[in-house]
């Protein structure tokens, strides 16, 4: 069978560039589509044309030369050409090398124009880079806002902490005045003793028994007040420590809950009672700063929810921790109005808030989600309670770093 007629028609009519060149690139044959693609309008012009002049990057000839000088009899490469109109053509070139009757190398080959396909892929690649850059900027902005949110929360807490410290400071100052007065009275008593008053007379006249018993009470009360101040400043110090958000270490979740309750007292003490059910849980390997932020957001949210009811009765915030299937679980439930089902699927979205304008940034719960799910591979969720109120829970992979 002779197929040459079919092949001739294929070469003449196809949308693929077929060529024959010398080793130095001189074109010996170019099919009609090839002439059209390269912008060669007259067949006469083809005479003596060197294919190298169409190379978008003349260095590509070196690649071809290294192939021609090797033992290879065929090659399969991607090539970029510039046609007469200056259009960039990306082609998939397949070539076969054979010697003619004079022993000179000739290349028989075809080039499939894949410019559109490549351009589409490259456009997609550019778009991906631009999206990644935009995402990066968005993430940076989110991180900045999250940091600002943390600073704002600490600022708000500072007012509460000042209030909590002021209270014991008030009675410590008053007690100091009493102690000073007692000291003056006892000094007077010693003066009288040295002036030979009868001891009985002195005791009755100068209330020595009362002073001696009250001094101990006053000192005890001062000690209690100082301890309260120390506790709250220690809690604040632990909470507000600015560390690297990527650094994880063993973390005492139960202690962190107590610290958070200490510094957030003003947010809940006039509206709700705290019920604590802290279970025996191991240290959690996590970023403590971030988890503190989550605890604070969830506890303050619980208090805000109760406040929204504007009830005269005190509400309840119940906090529990437990270890289930080697996972440390935290829950905080409130006796507030609960979450509207219509907003349930938006609650962890950034900038979503049900609080009044100026009270919430809408970043709190989204930040909690980011910290628990993205940074710690944990899980966070909420449920409405049967009577009223909502319960927010999170789980963290348990165990220590060991």
């Amino acid at each position: 069978m002779n197929y040459s007629g079919g092949f001739t028609r294929l070469i003449n009519d196809s949308k693929i560039l077929f060529f024959v060149t010398k080793k130095d690139g001189t074109i010996l044959y170019l099919n009609p589509f090839g002439q059209k693609l390269l912008g060669i309008t007259s067949k006469n012009i083809l005479e003596g044309i060197n294919s190298i002049q169409f190379y978008a990057n003349p260095d590509d000839k070196d690649d071809l030369d290294s192939i021609l000088n090797s033992e290879q009899s065929s090659f399969d490469i991607e090539i970029r050409l510039l046609n007469k109109d200056g259009r960039l053509i990306t082609g998939h070139e397949f070539g076969y090398i054979q010697k003619n009757d004079n022993g000179e190398q000739e290349i028989y080959g075809f080039i499939n124009d894949i410019s559109d396909f490549i351009q589409l892929n490259l456009d997609t690649a550019k778009l991906n880079i631009e999206m990644a850059e935009a995402n990066q900027k968005l993430q940076d902005a989110y991180n900045t806002m999250a940091q600002q949110e943390k600073m704002a929360t600490i600022g708000e807490l500072a007012a509460g902490v000042a209030h909590e410290i002021n209270n014991p400071l008030g009675f410590i100052k008053s007690n100091s005045r009493s102690l000073k007065k007692y000291l003056e009275m006892l000094t007077d008593v010693f003066q009288k003793i040295s002036n030979s008053f009868s001891l009985k007379e002195i005791k009755n006249a100068d209330k020595v028994d009362f002073i001696l018993s009250d001094v101990k009470d006053v000192i005890d009360e001062n000690e209690d007040g100082l301890n309260r101040i120390a506790r709250i400043t220690e809690s604040l110090k632990r909470f507000a420590r600015m560390g690297d958000e990527d650094v994880k270490a063993d973390f005492d979740l139960n202690q962190a809950i107590l610290d958070t309750l200490n510094i957030a007292q003003l947010q809940y003490k006039y509206i709700a009672d705290i019920k604590l059910e802290l279970g025996e849980i191991p240290m959690v390997f996590c970023n403590g700063d971030s988890i503190n932020q989550v605890l604070l957001n969830l506890i303050v949210n619980a208090a805000n929810a109760i406040e929204m009811l504007e009830s005269k009765e005190r509400g309840e915030i119940k906090i529990t921790t437990s270890l289930e299937n080697n996972l440390v679980t935290f829950s905080v439930s409130d006796s507030g109005p609960g979450i509207e089902p219509s907003v349930a699927n938006k609650i962890f979205d950034p900038f979503f808030t049900t609080k009044e304008v100026g009270k919430g940034t809408g970043l709190g719960l989204s930040l909690c989600y980011d910290i628990i799910v993205q940074k710690h591979q944990g899980k966070i969720w909420f449920e409405n309670l049967e009577k009223s109120g909502a319960k927010f829970s999170f789980i963290l992979p348990g165990g220590t770093n060991e």
Binding site: A56, N57, D59, D60, D62, D63, I77, E78, R80, L88, T90, I118, N121, L122, A125, K126, N128, I129, M131, A132, E133, N135, Q136, D246
Partner: protein
């Protein structure tokens, strides 16, 4: 991936060697030809390396002995750039040969990369 650090791996004419170096820097020597056929291997290699590397480190592609890049190879570069950005890593292309660079220029990709 980690077990291959320091070893030279070949994918059909493309030679890759990773040096974890120092100063929070990872250097990959890319030699030979990055063609359509081995671009996917290159991309897989780099993706695993990026995933296993500390966030925020510098990733340097040493290309003084890379002689050819196809458009698929450039596509692989862009995916590597995107993946490294996701891990907050800085990607640098070092000592790229002028003829390979001219391919990136032709296709309009030079603005996206840091060349050193």
């Amino acid at each position: 991936m980690a077990e291959n650090i320091g070893e030279t791996i070949e994918y059909d004419g493309l030679f890759l060697n990773t040096d974890t170096g120092s100063n929070n820097e990872i250097k990959v020597n890319v030699k030979g030809r990055l063609e359509t056929a081995n671009s996917i291997n290159f991309l897989n290699y780099m993706t695993q390396l990026i995933d296993a590397s500390p966030t925020g480190c510098d990733l340097i592609l040493e290309m003084s002995e890379l002689y050819y890049v196809s458009s698929t190879g450039i596509g692989a570069f862009t995916t590597i750039l995107v993946n490294s950005k996701k891990r907050n890593m800085q990607l640098f292309i070092k000592n790229m040969q002028p003829k390979v660079m001219s391919v990136l220029e032709l296709l309009g990709f030079t603005d996206f990369f840091n060349f050193i």
